[in-house]
Amino acid sequence: MTAALRIKDLTKVYGNQVHALKGISLEVERGDFFALLGPNGAGKSTTIGILFSLINKSSGTVEICGVDIDKDFPGAKKHVGIVPQEFNFNMFEKVEHIVVTQGGYYGLSREVAAARAEKYLKKLELWDKRNEVARSLSGGMKRRLMIARALVHEPDLLVLDEPTAGVDIEMRRTMWDFLKELNERGTTIILTTHYLEEAENLCRNIAIIDSGRIVHHGSMRDLLRQLHTETFLLDSKVVLPASVAIPGFSTRRLDDRCLEVVVDKDQGMNDLFAELSRQGIEIDSLRNKTNRLEEMFVSLLS
């Protein structure tokens, strides 16, 4: 089976001689939920822009679902749905009309486009807003509208460029559920996000791009396995002693009731809790200080 996306030696040099992409190669299998991460200016948006056909590549090859964009870009575009970072619809058009019109651009008859618009606007909880002009929607609704628009032609590959930016936490989780369901039904999804927790929760595979090069490409699990230490915050039921020392663990007392503990990946948590218990420190709750992927991300980029 052909890959959903295959990029080989892709470069982009802008007119001002900025080398945004320095020969990246990437493969995303069909059915994957893939994260493309990187700091601002790393080359994520340029890569996605080339898939959008809004940026002309300098060299390299890109295949979308087996179709080479140099040989048949319109054919390749049929397989991909794009949710860009910036709102790019006519703010004065009605919500339903925006989705139906996009269907028309993909050659869908009005009846089919209207039925698909209804299906996806309902799934994304926008059906009640279908007769409102886009500019009256909230930021989160506008993002969902762009997802509905990108799905109207039911693409094999959906590319989401920071789809949950500016979306409240409740709606973000609803969107996660929707995207998971979409992925389970066979749609390959590529996600860029600055919420690393989102990438860790949703994605099975990951590529990290920095300064126009891929610095990691593999499974999320393998990447997180490379993390040597994890930092936990422990909330104590009792007031902590002025100094807390636990043999084998690096600790730091943050306040009267909160203790920071660094745990190596080959250390057991049982030893930690046994020692805390021995010292009369009863733990109320435990949480990661930072997201695990975030720690790995910072470590890879530093």
């Binding site: 802008y14 959008f52 002309n56 319109p74 910036e86 703010m91 651009y105 993909y106 050659g107 008859s109």
Partner: protein
């Protein structure tokens, strides 16, 4: 895309364009109707009576074809320039650029949309002119051909302006400082015979002269220029401009990075 899918995509762009200018009819259809009525009243009914005949017709009959063409030119041009630049400015043009719609369908959709506005305004102005002048079309084929080619040509010019424009100022510079003077000096209000030889020669370099006279020949049967030559020039300009517009879309100039 199959032929059917391309047809649907074309229809989608065209309907969107027509809906746009119909929705804002007080800005798109009403102003030319009012402006042209004022031209008919002032230049035709009031001043025209003192001027007398021109080219063998009453002054009102003489100016009507030119005024209709003026409406076609300005409306075809301004429709596409504002619509396409607006889509570019608001980034909604990306909806089309990311889709599999071929470039020539994108161009055709926008151009036919603009032509339809040019022709609709021409129809409105023609109906209004019948309140002021008695018109009998002499050469229906030439009339239709000139008005269609002119609407297409100026839609294509408007498209080029929209592609290169960076701001809303840029889309008003060409109509204000180039198009309007060319129209006024293109023989709408006078016959080239009235000009001294030198200025008559200079006027013949103005493409609007051929547009106005071609149409006047179709309606009244008189022209200051050779009509076959005029049609050939309009056709040639249309083909060259069309090829250039397709090249702009293919290269992605000012549309893609």
């Amino acid at each position: 895309m199959s032929a059917l899918e391309q047809w649907i995509a074309f229809q989608t762009i065209l309907v969107k364009e027509i809906r746009r200018y119909i929705r804002i009819w007080p800005q798109t259809l009403l102003p030319p109707a009012i402006t042209m009525t004022l031209y008919f009243v002032i230049f035709g009914a009031l001043i025209g009576k003192r001027i007398g005949e021109m080219g063998g017709f009453s002054y009102m009959q003489f100016v009507v074809p030119g005024l209709i063409m003026m409406a076609v030119v300005t409306n075809s041009y301004s429709n596409i320039v504002s619509s396409f630049f607006g889509a570019k400015f608001g980034h909604s043009i990306e909806e089309l650029l990311v889709s599999p719609v071929p470039n020539w369908i994108i161009l055709a959709g926008f151009v036919v949309g603009s032509v339809s506005r040019g022709l609709l305004v021409a129809l409105i102005v023609t109906v209004l002119s019948l309140f002021f002048a008695d018109l009998h079309v002499q050469h229906m084929g030439v009339t239709i051909l000139v008005v269609l080619l002119t609407a297409i040509l100026f839609s294509l010019f408007g498209f080029i302006n929209a592609v290169f424009a960076n701001s809303f100022d840029d889309i008003s510079i060409v109509p204000t400082f180039i198009l309007t003077p060319l129209i006024y000096l293109g023989g709408v209000f006078y016959s080239l015979d009235l000009l001294p030889d030198f200025w008559e020669g200079v006027s013949r370099l103005n493409p609007l002269v051929y547009v106005v006279n071609g149409f006047r020949y179709g309606v009244l049967g008189v022209s200051d220029v050779n009509v076959t030559f005029a049609l050939a020039m309009i056709s040639l300009f249309t083909v060259v401009t069309l090829v250039y517009c397709l090249h702009l879309l293919k290269s992605g100039k000012r549309l893609r990075e």
